[in-house]
Each structure stands twice: as C-alpha cells, then as structure tokens.
C-alpha cells in the first residue's frame, strides 16, 4: 500500500528527521503538537501541525485515542511514532491495525514480546542467542549447584524486585549460602515474594547494539553495530560505529545473534538488539530489543549511506527489504554526541528555557540533527535533547577530530548545555583509546570535578 501522508506522533529532533525524509520521498506530513510545541521547528516544517492537547505528555503525546483520531481525521495513511512516547506501546500499534492505519513499526504482538523481559529472554534462548547466565533457585542447594555453572562474581536478585533491594553480590562461593538467605529474607520483606534468582555479574561490560531491518516474514538483515557505552545513569551520551577494539569474531557473532533473534520473532521494521559485552570474558549476552528507530541511528546511516526512516516507510508500505545483506557496505567510522539542555556543572540538572542564539557546526563529515533554532524553546515537559552532532570520517581518529572541532565551534546561548561535558569526554585518553566499559562516564566525572573550568582552559 502506497503511503501518501504520514502522521507524526512525536516532537523534537526526530519529528524534524522524519519530515526531512518524507519531503525527499514526496510524502505529506501532519504533525501532532501539544500547546507547548505549536511554534516548534517541526510544526513549521510539517505540511500541517495539529494541536492534540496540553503540554503534559499524558494529556497529549501519550494519548493513543487522540493520536489515532487525529491521524484519521487528517486522512493520514500511516503513523510514524518516532522513539519514546507511544513508539513501543502495543496499544497504538493494535489500534492502528484495527483502524486500517499503517503503523510504521513492528506488529503489536512483536512489541509485546520484546517488551516482556521473560518472553524476550525465552525468544533469545530459542534463537540460541546467549543470555546472561542465571536462573531462579528455590533452595540453598539449588543455588550452589547453579552457581557452579554461572561462576563468580554473581548476583542474587529478587524475582519481584527492583531498585537494588534484595540484591546481593557474591564474590566467593563460600559466601553464597548466607547471601542467598539474606536476599531471600529481604525480598520477602520488601516485595512479599521471597523468590530469588542468580545472575552472572559482569564487572566490566560494554553496551553494544546491532541495527536490524526485518520484513516481517522472517527476512532480516543487519546494518552493523553501535557502541553506546558512554552512559550516565543509563542515559547514552556518546555513540559510535563500529565498536572499537572488538575482535572480528566477536563482532561477527554479535551481528549473527541479532539477526537470529529478529528472525525468531519474524521482526518487522527497524529495530535494535542490545547486548552486554563482557570485557573480561570476551563474550556477550542479550539484553533486550528496542522495537523502534533509535536516537543514535544517524551513525549507522553515515557509515552505510542508508536512510533508515526511508527503509522503515518502505517496509511499512509492503516493499519489504530493499537490499540484501551482501549489498550492505560500511565505510569508515561515525561518532555522535547528544547535546542536551543539561548543566554538567550542576549535576546535569535540566535547563529548560528559550534559546536566544544558536550556531550549529558544519564542515566535512559533520551532520547535525536538531529542532533548535534561535528563539526555540526547550519546554520543561519533555526530554532535554536539543541536537545530535555526528561526525563521519574514514577512520576513528579523523571522525573524532572532526567531532571535537564541531563541538568546540558550537554555540548555544540561553540555556545550559552538556557541550562542556562532550569537550572533556572526547579529549579524554580513555575515550581516545576506545572500547571503554559503561563505567567510563562515572570515572570521567570523578577525575574532572569542575567541568566548566576545565573546558574554559581546554
């Protein structure tokens, strides 16, 4: 089915990104905008912007019925959910299926499968994709037996838990019985459920994910991996492709595992399979699948030369996969910095407000995905992502140098940004060496107590 008009159920830079591809394809766009986003850049760029409700996401961007009614009322053929908001809510995909609107993404059933940790883990096991070794145990004896397979260090976790309660780290086998009893008692007291399970503890892990495209009929290709280990409290800050320093065997195995997992569920659309790469053991485990376009998709686009939004639209319109695995070529290296309205000198406190002046970088190999121009507002109701600055080069050193120049030539006045953080991070010897684990940002912040001072003298 040809798609002539797309309803964009999102905001910010991803809305601008989707509009850009739609224009190139000659597809009309209708943008959902809350009252806080009526004057936003995407609202100006879309063929039409429609006000769906007040600023609070629960009253606008998260209302499934309103989104579908607005898409139908404006005669849109399809809904692109972007990332976040309703992108991984099975309810939206389901209502689209019922209303005969094309959902640009996976099926509702696939969203449910990958959204449920236990079901996703079973699917991974069925596809022979390694998961973090572990399992539920009901007695000390069973725990000791399982622990022999898992090895130490390991974690004892509450089945019904979260937030670290009922969780114990075990470094020596002889500590296991006491830790098991303690974790079980804590779990019972905290969650009313004394069941615990054991899981291998990865002391030094990297976050590496693989981009896939699936046709929904079992055909899947991968577009390489991205290393997203530069995270602060699970928020990604810098992403790059290829992942530096992986052995070619490990890289190949990651790609193959992502494809097997996606084939297992006959995944439809663009998706990302996330893995934890265990640096010490030189192995990897399935974490989860993200059933949507990712924030960091541009690094993949720059090295492959593909337009992932266009591929999403092609798959949604029934064209299937437009290229075979052997036709996917990856050239050079790309690195992305997420520019957030957050103040690194003030514990990354969000800094909403009006952007009075802004100057984004340009130059060879530089791409900027943004929704911020002079006069734009960063509303306090949504995430603080202002832009993604991405650099591409024939090798990592070139891409990194281009990105450092781009970061230092970027100017934003009116709101605080994490640009100083990026300047420090990209200049750090650990980052320059590449292949850091997810503890990198925490270590960096520890050794750089005053971010603003550092960057002024940098």
């Amino acid at each position: 089915m040809a798609i002539g008009r797309i309803f964009i159920a999102n905001r910010g830079e991803i809305a601008v990104r989707i509009i850009r591809t739609c224009r190139a394809l000659g597809i009309e766009t209708v943008l959902a905008a809350s009252t806080a986003d009526r004057d936003s850049l995407p609202a100006q760029l879309a063929d039409r912007a429609i006000c769906i409700g007040p600023p609070r996401p629960s009253e606008s961007y998260l209302r499934v019925e309103t989104i579908v009614a607005a898409a139908r009322g404006t005669n849109c053929d399809a809904i692109h959910p972007g990332y976040g908001f309703l992108s991984e809510r099975a309810a939206l995909a389901k209502m689209c299926e019922e209303e005969g609107i094309t959902f640009i993404g996976p099926t509702a059933a696939q969203i449910e499968t990958v959204g449920d940790k236990l079901r996703a883990r079973s699917a991974a096991q069925a596809a022979k994709v390694p998961v973090v070794p572990g399992g539920a145990v009901s007695s000390v004896d069973a725990a000791i037996e399982l622990a022999r397979d898992i090895g130490v260090p390991l974690l004892v976790k509450a089945v019904g838990g979260g937030g670290g309660r009922g969780m114990k780290r075990v470094d020596h086998f002889h500590d296991l019985p006491a830790s098991f009893e303690l974790a079980s008692a804590e779990a019972g007291a905290a969650f009313g459920d004394a069941r615990v399970y054991l899981e291998r503890f990865v002391a030094s892990g990297r976050h590496v994910e693989v981009q896939v495209l699936g046709d929904g009929r079992g055909g899947v290709i991968h577009l390489g991996e991205r290393d997203c280990s530069s995270q602060r409290r699970y928020q990604k800050l810098v992403e790059e492709t290829p992942a530096p320093g992986l052995s070619e065997t490990l890289r190949h195995d990651l790609h193959a595992a992502a494809v097997r997992f996606s084939e297992q569920i006959a995944y439809r659309g663009a998706g990302t399979v996330e893995f934890l790469v265990d640096r010490e053991r030189e192995t990897f485990y399935f974490l989860e699948m993200n059933a949507r376009i990712q924030v960091e998709h541009p690094v993949t686009e720059l090295v492959t030369g593909l337009d992932l939004i266009a591929e999403q639209i092609a798959i949604a319109s029934g064209a299937g996969l437009r290229l075979e695995q052997s036709a996917v070529r990856r050239h050079g290296c790309a690195i992305e910095c997420r520019i957030n309205a957050e103040d690194p000198a003030n514990d990354f406190l969000p800094s909403p407000g009006m952007v009075r002046e802004v100057s984004w970088p340009m130059g060879e190999g530089i791409r900027v995905d943004t929704h911020i121009v002079a006069g734009s507002r960063v509303p306090p109701f949504y995430d603080s992502l202002m832009a993604k600055i991405i650099a591409h080069g024939p090798d990592r050193a070139t891409a990194l140098q281009r990105l450092r120049n781009a970061i230092s030539s970027t100017r934003v006045v009116g709101v605080a940004t994490n640009l100083p953080f990026h300047a420090v991070a990209l200049a750090d010897p650990e980052f320059q060496a590449g292949g850091m684990d997810t503890g990198f940002v925490a270590r960096l912040l520890e050794r750089t107590p005053d971010m603003t001072e550092r960057t002024r003298h940098d």
């Binding site: 008009r5 009309e28 766009t29 209708v30 009252t35 009526r38 004057d39 609202a43 100006q44 760029l45 879309a46 063929d47 039409r48 912007a49 429609i50 006000c51 769906i52 409700g53 007040p54 606008s60 019925e65 309103t66 579908v68 009614a69 607005a70 139908r72 009322g73 404006t74 005669n75 209502m95």
Partner: protein
C-alpha cells in the same frame, strides 16, 4: 434528586457511544426508557464517522499558522467584545452540534445557555465527550462546523455573557 433535560441528553450520548440499544432507568419514582429507534443497521456512531468532513492537509506551513494562532486559548484579540466568551475544544476530536445525525442541534445562535449546558459533543475513537458552555449567556456565533475535526483549544462557538 431528579433528572434534568440536560441529564437525559447526556445519558443519550452515553448510549450513543456504547454498544447498547436500550436502557431502562428507575430513579426516585421516575422511569426513563430509551431505545435506539429507526437507526440504520450499522449504528449511528459509525454513521457519524462516515459523515466526518476531513480537512485535507494544508499544502504550506503558512496556511497553518493562522489556524494555530486562532486556537490560542480564550484570549480575545484587541477590538473583540470583552463580553464574548469563546468556548474552546477541551480535546481533539470530531465535533458534533447535534446528539445524532438529523436531530436538532444542542444550541443555535440565540440559544440561552447556562455554564453546564451541553453545546456539542466531541467524538474521539467512538467515545462521546460532551462540551459545556462554561458561562451563562446567549450563543452569538457557532464557529466550528458540524462533523469537523477540531484541535485542542480550537474555538467552537462564542457566547455573549450575561449576568
């Protein structure tokens, strides 16, 4: 407690939005029987949907801006009579002036309204939401068309305030 005319209208709307064809209600010795009558087989709500006038996407952003500006809450532009109250859409959806096709409209220009008078309904995915006048006064002008998609905050009608 007794049922007012407005309550009955609201109950009718609830049935409209439901899958029921008949309702019997007994309340303080009062008996209310409602039945969907002479309704086409496919039901009135789907008929509503069929009648939805769907504005095409405007070709240029420029065409959007005035519309966006017009929906900017209840702030009246200079020169507008301050006694005029704008009733705006509390949510996005399809606006209907009458409880069902062919039925007389809830209000017309000249109708007297109380704050809780239902002046129209907004349908969102088959759910009917009543819109109330919000002020006491007289309907001066109906702005939004019957069966059209209205945005959040869009002006539906203007009411001359009284009292």
């Amino acid at each position: 407690m007794s049922l007012t005319a407005a309550d009955v209208v609201e109950i009718m709307q609830l049935i409209e939005g439901s899958s029921f064809d008949e309702l019997s209600l007994e309340l303080n010795g009062m008996k209310l029987n409602l039945r969907r009558g002479s309704v086409p087989a496919d039901g009135s709500s789907s008929q509503h949907s069929g009648a939805v006038a769907t504005p095409a996407a405007a070709p240029t952003p420029a065409a959007i801006s005035p519309q966006v500006a017009a929906t900017n809450g209840t702030k009246a532009s200079p020169g507008v009579d301050p006694s005029l109250h704008e009733v705006t859409a509390p949510l996005l959806g399809t606006f209907y002036l009458a409880p069902k096709p062919g039925a007389p409209p809830f209000v017309e220009p000249g109708s007297l309204v109380e704050p809780d008078t239902v002046i129209g309904i907004i349908e969102v995915m088959k759910l009917m939401n009543s819109v109330r006048a919000g002020v006491r006064g007289k309907v001066a002008e109906i702005v939004a068309g019957d069966g059209t998609l209205v945005e959040f905050g869009e002006t539906l009608m203007r009411v001359t305030k009284s009292g």
